[in-house]
């Protein structure tokens, strides 16, 4: 009996439950589809390249899902509250008719069960379809071929989804039961009357609040554009940034708080417009609703801002890597050695826990660079196994070159001869964003000799550079922000005084292509000074880093050579002739692994961005939809009156559309404005790694979001139209 009542209720309250069902179904679909990531990655052939990728991403997604389930849970509670509010009278009536609270609670529980189960079944069905399709999407994200496609069902994803839904269900239920348990029958019965009170706010005050909010937002924008983002956790920068954040949050809330009052005042100023058709009704409805929804509009604007900013930033970073990886991987394999400075060597020798005290090792600063090819032969493949064998880099090497970079701080000196800060000062430019760290004065550029650089150029198949006896040039592949400084230095023909030698630029611009010493997805060479050999010899600079660039004997990207280099290997100590340890092996990378990690990183970032962004956008849109529908049905009586006064349903629907457009558009507009400002600052940071390119992926994601958000908007409008039509049709019963 109760079951029948509950089922009937769900059917009757179908429209209210529809948004609830729709959102929950979408959540289930997305939860399931994204949680099959491990299987998808397997099928898309990603795991062949990155064996751990599936598990890693799967783990991240599961964690995210739990977080998003929380968000969804609260959304569902909100949606459910809306349904409950409308039905308080009904629940009161049940009790007046003699049902116990327990029975009413059971009816409500059953209703929630029906809807949740329906959402689960629908959502899983859609999720199954979506997850099959997503395999192709995944393959294209990770740039792989689908290896073993088959219809698949993921029990773990299923379990995860059901678990999340159960949690959402329980939370919703607890809130519902509280409504029944707490409310007095008399309150329930009079609930609809209570809802009708409308507090009108003085539109002048609202308009003033709006202006203050807008001003605060502008101030925050100016502050952010002026101060930029904080780096390196400097407390001062952090404090400034926090204040800016607070200002923008308060500003956004005030903005929405006063928005309708402001619009009302503006429109009232235009008398002909205000006193025309339903314009004043539209405006008054808007401003009446603002009390209840302005705060959530502000929150939605902020959430959309977060979604837009993180998705765009993530994807831009991904596409930056995509665009720089080709330039960043000029050879098959690179490795490097970082040398110890005298200071570090002395410190470590003095520390028995590092040097091992008596009978231990000795650290030293090298007098000259070591031969990397020879040194690598001391490494061991498959160490501590029966297959142990010496590492023979030469066996797979076709051609190679070694670049020896020196520290720009001469032996015995305290300060570097050339620093980025010095160069900035020379051309009157500020330090690039992200480089204003505290040790900016002591960090010098690395220095290489002209002959060594020409060896590198010859190896790369490039034209040699004539540095002459008093020439210099600068190298960097870090992208516009840093390179711009070097370009300015070269262009303005800045004379460098390097240890008494007066040097002049021999190039007008930095050649970024001819600046890559290490295979990497982003720029690694933050600044290298090329000087004549005689100058380098005379300066007495200590070796800083040596790079080894190798092309395979078996041809570019030879898989066997890649496999040889990726095999398990024990690194040896880097020693000089006397047996002192003079440095450690630095990063090494083959072109293939760099590409793979770029693809994986891109895939990962895109995946997470879309997942988070989609759920957040759906959540925001669902809240707006529920609010609008509740607003429209609260105003049903008003719409009936309008109809009786001779307004056509079309005109009423038009007024509703205007209101809803304002409610849906403004949070997006504010969110986008915030994002635009934030992104323009973030762009500076990303440019440090090679410039910002908003690729097709961002456009694609934006399209998905627009469809989701716009879909909710359409649903809202169509359902509102239905509510208006019903309200207009409602007759006076005499």
């Amino acid at each position: 009996m109760l079951c029948k009542l509950a089922f009937g209720n769900v059917r009757r309250a179908g429209r209210d439950y529809l948004v609830y069902l729709l959102t929950l179904t979408l959540a289930v679909t997305v939860f399931y589809a994204f949680n099959t990531i491990a299987l998808q990655i397997d099928m898309a052939g990603v795991s062949e390249q990155n064996p751990g990728m599936g598990e890693t991403l799967g783990g991240i997604i599961s964690g995210l899902t739990i977080f998003l389930a929380f968000v969804m849970g609260f959304l569902m509670v909100y949606a459910n509250n809306f349904i409950m509010k409308r039905r308080k009278k009904e629940f009161g009536l049940y009790q007046v008719l003699g049902m116990s609270r327990g029975q009413v609670a059971r009816v409500m529980t059953l209703e929630t069960v029906f809807v949740s189960v329906a959402a689960l079944v629908l959502g899983i069905a859609l999720g199954l379809v979506l997850s099959q399709l997503m395999v192709f999407f995944t393959a294209s994200l990770f740039k792989t071929q689908i290896s073993n496609f088959r219809f698949f069902v993921s029990p773990s994803a299923l379990l995860m989804t059901v678990g999340c839904l159960a949690a959402i269900f329980l939370v919703t239920l607890v809130f519902n039961l509280r409504v029944v348990a707490r409310a007095k029958v008399v309150d329930l019965m009079s609930a609809s009357r209570q809802n009708e009170t409308i507090k009108a706010r003085n539109p002048w005050i609202s308009a003033a609040i709006f202006v203050v909010g807008l001003a605060a937002i502008v101030v925050a924008y100016v502050r952010l554009l002026h101060d930029g983002l904080p780096y390196d956790g400097q407390p001062e920068g952090m404090r400034v940034f926090l204040i800016t954040t607070c200002i923008v949050i308060v500003g956004t809330i005030l903005f929405f708080f006063g928005l309708s009052g402001f619009l009302l005042k503006v429109l009232q100023g235009a008398r002909g417009l205000y006193w025309r058709g339903l314009n004043m009704v539209t405006m008054r409805q808007l401003s009446a609703k603002v009390n209840t929804v302005s705060f959530s509009m502000a929150v939605i604007a902020m959430i959309l801002f977060l979604a837009i900013t993180s998705v765009t930033t993530g994807m831009s970073l991904a596409s930056v890597m995509d665009s720089t990886v080709e330039r960043g991987t000029p050879v098959d394999y690179t490795t490097s050695i970082m040398y110890y400075s005298q200071k570090i060597a002395d410190e470590w020798n003095a520390d028995p826990t590092i040097s091992g005290g008596e009978g231990g090792v000795t650290f030293a600063a090298p007098t000259e660079p070591v031969d990397l090819m020879a040194m690598s032969a001391n490494q061991t493949l498959y160490a501590d196994t029966p297959d142990a064998q010496p590492f023979d880099l030469a066996s797979i090497t076709g051609s190679y070159v070694q670049v020896d970079a020196y520290d720009s701080t001469p032996r015995g000196a305290d300060a570097p001869l050339v620093t980025l800060k010095g160069l900035c000062d020379a051309v009157g430019m500020p330090l690039p964003a992200g480089t204003e760290s505290s040790d900016v004065d002591t960090l010098g550029l690395q220095v290489i000799s002209a002959s060594n650089y020409n060896e590198y150029l010859a190896f790369r198949g490039m034209e040699p550079l004539d540095v002459a006896a008093d020439g210099y040039t600068l190298l960097s592949d870090m992208g516009a922000t840093v390179t711009d400084v070097y370009d300015a230095v070269l262009e303005q023909d800045v004379e460098l005084d390097v240890g008494g030698f007066k040097l002049h630029p021999v190039q007008a611009r930095v050649n970024e292509d001819a600046s890559v010493f290490v295979n990497s997805m982003m720029g690694m060479n933050s600044g290298t000074l090329v000087v004549p050999d005689e100058v380098l010899d005379a300066l007495d600079l200590p070796p800083y880093t040596s790079y080894l660039l190798v092309n395979y004997a078996a041809g570019p990207d030879d898989p066997a050579s890649d496999a040889y280099l990726n095999a398990d290997r024990r690194y040896n100590d880097v020693t000089d002739g006397a047996g002192n340890i003079v440095g450690g092996w630095g990063t090494e990378a083959t072109r293939s692994t760099t590409y793979e990690s770029v693809n994986s990183m891109n895939g990962l970032i895109s995946y997470l961005a879309i997942y988070i962004g989609f759920v957040l956008v759906v959540a925001c849109a669902a809240i707006l939809t529920i609010q609008q529908l509740s607003g429209v049905s609260d105003a049903g009586k008003n719409y009936r009156i309008l109809s009786e006064l001779g307004t056509s349903t079309r005109e009423i629907a038009h007024s509703v559309l205007t209101q809803q457009t304002i409610f849906f558009i403004f949070p997006v507009v504010v969110g986008i404005a915030h994002s635009a400002v934030a992104l323009s600052v973030i762009v500076d940071l990303i440019e440090l790694f090679g410039g910002l390119t908003i690729g097709g992926m961002v456009g694609f994601t934006a399209l998905i979001f627009v469809i989701a958000y716009g879909g909710y908007f359409c649903v809202t409008y169509l359902m509102s139209k239905g509510i208006v039509r019903d309200a207009v049709r409602a007759r006076h019963v005499g």
Partner: protein
């Protein structure tokens, strides 16, 4: 002239209605004072002409006949009351006349136009231009001020703001509600709300103003104020008012009362030159007689 009209339309159903006819005919009191009411001198054509209107609810084996062959006319500038017990069909009649509900058969002519034959779009426009409504609950838009509520029918009809606002002020002054123009409905008393609603109905200068139990939710003082408003509207604006009520006191403010029972016009009373008190007493007599026959007390 008037009498002819009424005779033609209201007496006919009684004659053709079979068994009930003779009884109904007998209970009709003597046709009231012959002297013709003042409005008839101003206009000759009836502003409302209801002919053989029938309204049936439900389908097949569950049919409710809310209105059965109702006919009557209202002249321009008349203030007419419709009385009847709840369920008698008086609100259905008003809804049919006001185009909110559709008739099952018969015709309703307002200012010569047959509203039962109009398409929805034309109906909307017609309602906007020719009809004014006042309901038991004032039906003001709760989000609008009194001024905006009164101006609403004008803005919907695209009357220029300058003209609309002048007309609002004018009507408000006549109905003594100038003081509440900038208040919201929830800041007004029930009586003030009803008078604002009356002003809203009046402001477009409609052919007929329909009032459905306008005093139903008011105390006697506010009810009297509102009814005086109606008299003002009727006198100063020559507004034609059709008021449905079950309150004999409210009905006594009208010039003519139609009594409806079981979906038919049972009888009618004319005030003529008699005093309101006298008219009230005569209404009470009919009410008592109708009640005495075992139907609901009015």
């Amino acid at each position: 002239m008037d009498q002819h009209n009424i005779g033609a339309h209201s007496a006919k159903p009684a004659q053709v209605a079979g068994g009930a006819a003779s009884r109904v005919h007998m209970t009709i009191p003597n046709p009231t004072v012959p002297s013709s009411p003042a409005p008839a001198t101003r206009a000759v054509a009836p502003v409302l002409d209801v002919r053989h209107v029938e309204k049936v609810y439900g389908a097949r084996n569950n049919v409710t006949r809310a209105l059965a062959d109702v006919s009557f006319t209202v002249m321009r500038g008349e203030f007419v009351g419709i009385m009847g017990a709840s369920g008698s069909g008086k609100s259905t009649l008003l809804n049919c006349i006001s185009t909110i509900d559709a008739v099952t058969s018969g015709n309703v002519y307002i200012d010569g136009a047959d509203v039962t034959a109009m398409k929805p779009a034309k109906l909307t426009r017609f309602r906007r231009e020719q009809l004014g409504f006042i309901f038991q609950d004032s039906n003001l838009l709760d989000t609008l001020t009194a001024r905006e509520n009164i101006a609403l029918p004008l803005t919907i009809s695209r009357v220029p703001a300058s003209e609309a606002l002048v007309r609002v002020e004018d009507v408000a002054a006549r109905l003594s509600i100038s003081g509440v123009l900038d208040k919201y409905p929830y800041q007004m008393s029930g009586g003030q709300q009803q008078r604002v609603a009356a002003a809203r109905a009046l402001v477009t200068n409609p052919a007929i103003i329909m009032a459905d139990e306008p005093t139903g939710a008011l105390d006697s003082k506010n009810a009297r104020l509102l009814l005086e408003c109606f008299e003002t509207m009727n006198r100063d604006y020559q507004a034609t008012v059709l008021m449905v009520t079950h309150d004999s006191f409210a009905a006594s403010y009208t010039q003519r009362v139609l009594f409806i029972r079981d979906g038919r016009i049972f009888t009618e009373l004319r005030r003529g030159t008699s005093s309101r008190q006298d008219f009230f007493n005569r209404i009470m007599e009919v009410v008592a007689m109708m009640g005495g026959e075992g139907s609901d007390a009015l």
